[in-house]
Symmetry: C2
Subunit: 199 residues, 2 copies
């Protein structure tokens, strides 16, 4: 009887300890990922808060409109490093479609040099601006294609939050000239190459 | 005595099942990450195998040397999208140093257009080449700065493996003109901004 009781206690202890360790391990595994599913935040009055961490997202391409080729003041000065959030990129790789919730970032960078040991051209200087576009069929149900566009400014310091731009200021160009669902995929080789439609 | 035996068996079963489940969970947690610590592979005779997955690494900047500004044939045609492996970027963020094992990728992209709705400039076309540089004090102990340089070609199809280039072909320029440890950080704003020395 005494031995039986001891065994019973041992069984209980073994189960409790194992479950506790298991819980700890599972908790660790379920920790928030580096790039969560909802990669941006909005203020209560619907402004987009300046995104963070996007320099670790998936880079898709860099259009360049230097000031010296655009009368001294390009509409988007000057390098435009474009990113997509990782979850939406994974969806694009599978489907060739921009999922609801896709966030794209356009980080603007000034020209810092025009010659280097690798030749003549354009070389990045300092960050100068930040913009974003977001596809969201609930939040932006009245925008063409459900895409809304935000600018945090074309000079530093950037705004901490931005209301969506008027349709005329961004969406019209994207609607008229972007190759795929309001996105200029014609200038983003990483997206083109990753789409299953390209294979 | 019968009950004692049953308890003993129960204890054993509980422990065995718990350990088995724990092992399964830990195995899952230890599965290879998307970007493993060793992000590239070498052949048995020391050639670098064409890297894979680098388009999900951390983008650092895009120098541009268009053919039309370089007598029709730029040394590196034309956009150079530059990436660093994520583990080495994390180390750089903490220390401002390129760790042993750092891999940098230079993906070459041709100019596809010179005007768009955003203005005059240069817009990416198709991928045209791939290069890599790797810092490794064991594998490249005799190279200046322990950096070796590899080219998979400046036109498609790319080589599947590449021997390291002669010191004169890459390392001399990097040694003479790159701002930080053989890396042209002067053209990579993402690296400059992420270094703790910049703050």
């Amino acid at each position: 009887m005494f031995e039986s009781k001891r065994m019973e206690i041992s069984a209980c202890v073994a189960v409790v300890v194992s479950v506790a360790v298991l819980f700890f391990v599972l908790e660790g595994a379920a920790a928030p990922p580096a790039n969560p599913t909802e990669p941006v935040k909005f203020t209560e009055d619907g402004k987009l808060m300046k995104p963070d961490g996007y320099r670790k997202w998936v880079y898709v391409g860099t259009p360049l409109t230097p000031n010296d080729l655009n009368g001294g003041e390009a509409p988007f000065p000057e390098f435009h490093a474009v990113y997509i959030d990782p979850e939406s990129f994974a969806h694009y790789e599978k489907t060739g479609k921009f999922r609801d919730g896709t966030v794209m970032i356009k980080e603007l960078v000034g020209v810092g040099a025009k010659e280097a040991t690798s030749g003549k051209g354009y070389f990045m200087g300092e960050f100068s601006g930040l913009e974003a576009s977001i596809k969201d069929s609930k939040r932006f149900k009245d925008e063409p294609g459900n895409w809304a566009y935000f600018s945090f400014g074309h000079s530093y310091p950037l705004k901490k939050a931005a209301a969506k731009n008027a349709v005329a200021s961004c969406n019209q160009c994207h609607q008229a000239s972007a190759a795929d669902d309001y996105v200029f995929t014609q200038f983003y080789p990483v997206l083109r190459a990753s789409s299953p439609n390209a294979k």
